[in-house]
């Protein structure tokens, strides 16, 4: 069974802090994704990566960056956290590029920016 692990379930940070959200998957998947989940807005794609050191902007990349130094790990970085980045963040992975395979999700990190 695919395991996608996000390092924190809950995180509280202050405005202006640099925040790191970590995600690790154990199935050697090529593709990894970061979403934020907000009521009434569904899941919105922030960034995704289809290979080590490769990244693509999603629909709402502003204020975020990502890092993929190893295949199994995909980090989301809030360069200078702001209150409007308070949200649930979901990481996901899929097998192979150009794939219609389903996404496997982590449990999510609920981030609060004070």
């Amino acid at each position: 069974d695919v395991k996608v692990t996000q390092s924190s379930r809950y995180l509280v940070k202050r405005t202006g802090e640099k925040v790191f959200l970590e995600c690790v998957q154990d199935m050697d998947h090529e593709n990894m994704f970061w979403y934020r989940q907000d009521p009434g807005l569904g899941l919105r794609l922030i960034y995704f990566s289809y290979d080590v050191k490769m990244k693509e902007k999603g629909d709402i990349p502003e204020g975020y960056s990502v890092s993929r130094e190893k295949k199994e790990r995909f980090s989301l970085i809030l360069e200078s956290a702001s209150t409007n980045q308070t949200s649930m963040y979901l990481c996901a992975s899929t097998d192979r590029a150009y794939s219609n395979q389903p996404q496997h999700f982590g449990d999510g990190t609920r981030l609060s920016i004070l």
């Binding site: 090529e30 593709n31 994704f33 979403y35 009434g40 807005l41 569904g42 899941l43 919105r44 794609l45 995704f48 289809y50 490769m54 693509e56 999603g58 979901l90 996901a92 899929t94 590029a97 150009y98 794939s99 219609n100 389903p102 996404q103 999700f105 982590g106 449990d107 999510g108």
Partner: protein
């Protein structure tokens, strides 16, 4: 533009009643569609995908290209079906496929 629309934020039905969660999409290519479900305190997970043409937990969904719809249906709702449901579209980009999600519908089954 690629888009997935779920017009209902909340759908409440009685146990045993039929359920239909609506999903419409906009995509110029050949669509690959999914339904994902998130039960309370659980992670988001795949419910079904159109390519499989299968029934999962009594739910089915048929792709209607003419109406650009992929509605999720179940003839008799059960209390354990209460959850958040997301319709999703797989869109091929230059280097990989990405999934576009709808805004979700919360299904509440009343006893």
């Amino acid at each position: 533009a690629q888009r997935v629309t779920q017009p209902e934020k909340l759908l409440s039905v009685f146990k045993g009643a039929p359920v239909e969660l609506k999903c419409n999409y906009s995509y110029s290519g050949s669509p690959e569609l999914f339904w994902y479900v998130q039960y309370s305190r659980q992670r988001l997970q795949l419910l079904l995908r159109h390519i499989s043409r299968e029934s999962i937990k009594g739910f089915t969904a048929d792709l209607n290209k003419g109406e650009t719809s992929f509605h999720l249906k179940k003839p008799f709702a059960q209390e354990e079906d209460s959850a958040m449901y997301y319709c999703a579209l797989s869109a091929r980009e230059s280097s990989a496929s990405k999934i576009i999600f709808g805004s979700g519908t919360r299904l509440s089954i009343r006893p």
